[in-house]
Each structure stands twice: as structure tokens, then as C-alpha cells.
Symmetry: C2
Subunit: 282 residues, 2 copies
């Protein structure tokens, strides 16, 4: 069974929420807006594992809260992840024609509309968080603070900037870890931590979940590296280049065990299953 | 005297704040991050009238509050305005090589870094608002709600999407107004309204300021249209195409008078001066 099959209730809830969100915004229905909406929905519907929003909902579950309490966080992190893929695929970045077996956004809607679709998704993330948690503004503010930090200059965007600026002689091992942590780890961690804030976790619960998310982010990157590794064309930023495949596998096992142990005190069956899936995919 | 000379105290405060913001973030100082920071700062430093952030500070003044209380809003709207210019100038959008007599961001830093600089500025806007108003989360949440709405799908980004999707036979007059309102008016209005919220304006004060900002946004667009109008190459979305130059000038005068009248009850000398400047520039 795939992760999406094991958690089909959660994944269905996420997909229904992210698809209807922009449909509901379409009431203005001006010509250019329709195309923007179509462009946004196209990328939201081009599948994916829904890994980040799933983490948000499973965090709610681990805290014994209704899934709906973390749903706005789940939507926001999926919108941000989707925007980053649309911008990443643009000709000036990775210049990809396909993603998940389908033409990339700009191949269907043109580069200008793809650029705007990404901008719209990013902006909408913060709007929906402010709107959804408006009645509990301390939660709204902290969730927005966490997610915008993870997505911005010291997080995802900063990591992408470092990734495209390879210094002479390549990145050092320390720099590789930084790029990974900023580009991928930060948003994964915030998917859990912001959900914990939205579900009013106690300081102790939040600390356990944060530790889990830190380690999961790292484990996720290690598994990605093992998955992507091709000895004939090593990527400049892969950890494997520095320590080899076997050592990376051993490290993945160790990090996963620590990750699962971090949430021992919670009722976190779902979160543990995610960490095991990540381990077993490579 | 120019607007920047009349309000040199306010403009200096704004420029110092927006320039130091990303310098202070540079403590990480990884190679790619340095270039991202340089790219962001390059566009922030390429001048401009600082029109939007000036409105935010003059709103604080009209309410008898210290300028610093609206400074985070001022920074956020200038960051968002700057990001929109960087993305607008990209080859897939307007493909401009110069802005304000200087090479555009992507001409200096490359398209990929320009794209990321825009993404970083947009994300940072919401981060800085959450951080600055964290102690008053109801204010933080409402300010972020207002600004993200103005910048997003039903505001600036939506307007840009409509603008690049010209229907067969051109936009109707109603559509032209919509594009203007969403693309330009929304962010100008929010520069005032979000500052009013940040300065804890009373409902009555906020209503007056909102009315002022609505009318100023419209007056600003009318003046821009008169300024840009070239009878030999009319743009598809100009109001002037539909009603002619003279009628547009008369309309600008009428809208400006209403705009100034809207803040009669406040100590709003600065805001009135801005409306007069806008009238007199054409």
C-alpha cells in the first residue's frame, strides 16, 4: 500500500480542501482570472504525495484534535510547496517540460501565467491562514510567523538561491547540509510545528513534535538522495558524494529510529508510519 | 519640490528601514544567500517614489501616532511593490531591460535570481508583519489579512493575470476599471488601511481613511493614464481610450477633491498634500 492509500481519509480531505479553495474564489469570474485559477488548479491537481499537508493533519491526530483544526496549515504548506514547484520548473530555473508525467504549468499556460500562479499560491497561503485563524489571532500570528520564515530568505527561497549559486570547487559538506535543510527541511518541519501551534500543543508536546519534524526532514532528504543517486551524473549538492551510498543508508536508519523515538510520548501512530514509509521507500 | 523632498524625514526613515532589513538577515552569509541579498537590495535601492510606504507613515501622522507604529506596514507594502516590479520586468512578462534608468534586476543578477528575489520579498513581507506586531496579534492578523488580500488573487496578482489575458476585441470599460483597481488600487488602498489598523484607528477614522485611499488609488491611476497616454500607441487597458484626455482630466480633479474631503475630520495635512501632488503631476 502507498502512503496515500494508508491515509486516504486524510488525503481526500486535503485534496477536496485545496481544489475547492480556488473554485470558491472564482465568483468574480473575469476572463484573466479564470485562466489564473485554471493554472493554479492544474498544478494543485497534478498529484504528488501530499506529504507536507499529511504531516499537518497527522500532527492534529497525534494531539487528539480534529483534523480540521490543522487543515488551514495543511492547505498553506501544500500551496507553498506547489508554488515552489511551478517556479522551479520555469525555463530560467530547472527548465523542466514534465512533472509527474504531465506537462509543467508553463508548458500549458505559458510562462507569464505560471509565474503569476506561483505568486498567487504563495500570497494565498498567508491570506487563508489569517482568515481561518482570525478568531484566535495569537495562533494566526505564530503560524504565519513560522510558515513565512520556513518559506522565505532563511528557509526555502534562501536554500534555492544557495543551490543555484555553486561556488568554485562545489559546495562543502556543511553547505550541502545547509542547502538541504533550508530548501526542503524547513517547510517539512513547519508542516508539523505550525500544525502543533494551530492545535494548541503544550510546550512539551511541541518540543517532541519539533524534534520529530527536524529528524524527519533530514531523513526525507537522505532518502531522496539515495533515490536520486546516479553514480554516472552525481549532483553537486548530494550528501552521497561526500560519504557514499552505504553510509547514507546507515545514517537514514539511525535518523529514522531517533525520529520515531521523539514522539514516543504521544499517540502518534500516523506520524511514525510516515517515518517508516520514508525509510522503506529506498 | 518633489514629493520625496517635502517628506524627506519620512522617506529617509523608510529607506533606512528597508535597506537595513536584508542586511541584518545576512548574518548567515552563505554564498548563494549573499547574492540573493544583493539582488533584493539592488531593486530596493533603485529608487522609486516610495509612494505606498509614504502613505502608510502619513496615515500614522494623520492619526497622531508615532511613524514607527506604521513602519512595518510601510516596509511590507514597499517589499510587495518591489517584488511585483522585479517579476513584471522578467522576459516572460514585460521583458524590460531598464527601470528608472538602471538595468533591471534580471539583467544584473540573471533571471533565476531575480525570480527568487521577488519570491523572497513577498514572503518576507508577511514574516516581518507577524514578527513586528507579535505582541498585538489581533493587529498582526488583520494587517496580514488586508495586505495579503490586496496583493493576491483578488488583488494585484489577479489584476496582472487579467491584464495579460486581453479578450478578443479588447477589455470593456468595466474590465479596464477592474484591472486598474486590482493591479494598482488594491495595494495603494491597503497601504493606508493596514496602517490605520496598525495605529488602532477608531472605526470612524478607519472609514474616512479607507474612503480617502479608495479615491486616491483611482486618482493615481487616472494621473498615470494621462501621463502615459500616447495617441499613436494607445494601450489596451487605458481609460482614456474610452473617454478621451479632457474628460479624464476633469474626472481626476473631481476625484481628488472628493479624496481630500474624505479626511477633512482628521489632522491629515500630509495625506492631502499627496493627493494634490498626484493631481499636479499631469
Amino acid at each position: 500500500m502507498s502512503l496515500n492509500e494508508v491515509f486516504n481519509v486524510e488525503v481526500n480531505l486535503i485534496e477536496q480542501a485545496i481544489f475547492t479553495h480556488f473554485e470558491e474564489k472564482a465568483s468574480l469570474a473575469h476572463p484573466g482570472y479564470e485562466k489564473l485559477k485554471d493554472s493554479v488548479l492544474y498544478s494543485l491537481k497534478t498529484g504528488g504525495k501530499r506529504f507536507r499537508p499529511l504531516l499537518s493533519l497527522l500532527t492534529a491526530k497525534a494531539l487528539g484534535k480534529p483534523l480540521e483544526q490543522a487543515l488551514p496549515v495543511a492547505k498553506a504548506v501544500e500551496f507553498i510547496h506547489t508554488y515552489s514547484l511551478i517556479h522551479d520548473d520555469l525555463p530560467c530555473m530547472d527548465d523542466d517540460d514534465e512533472r509527474r508525467g504531465q506537462p509543467t504549468n508553463h508548458k500549458v499556460y505559458g510562462e507569464a501565467m505560471a509565474l503569476l500562479a506561483g505568486d498567487a499560491l504563495l500570497t494565498e497561503s498567508f491570506f487563508l491562514l489569517a482568515e481561518a485563524y482570525r478568531q484566535t489571532p495569537a495562533i494566526a500570528t505564530e503560524v504565519i510567523w513560522l510558515i513565512s520564515e520556513a518559506a522565505g530568505t532563511v528557509g526555502m527561497v534562501g536554500g534555492q538561491a544557495m543551490d543555484i549559486e555553486v561556488p568554485e570547487g562545489g559546495h562543502s559538506e556543511e553547505q550541502i547540509r545547509w542547502v538541504h535543510e533550508m530548501k526542503t527541511g524547513a517547510l517539512i518541519r513547519t508542516s508539523v510545528e505550525a500544525a502543533a501551534v494551530a492545535c494548541q500543543a503544550s510546550p512539551h508536546e511541541r518540543e517532541s513534535l519539533r524534534k520529530y519534524a527536524d529528524l524527519l526532514g533530514f531523513a526525507f532528504q537522505l532518502a531522496d538522495d539515495i533515490d536520486d543517486f546516479d553514480p554516472n551524473s552525481p549532483e553537486s549538492t548530494s550528501i552521497i558524494n561526500n560519504q557514499g551510498v552505504d553510509a547514507t543508508r546507515a545514517q537514514l536508519l539511525e535518523v529514522t529510529e531517533k525520529c520515531i523515538y521523539a514522539v514516543e510520548g504521544l499517540n502518534a501512530k500516523g506520524l511514525k508510519t510516515v517515518a517508516e514509509f520514508n525509510l522503506n521507500r529506498v
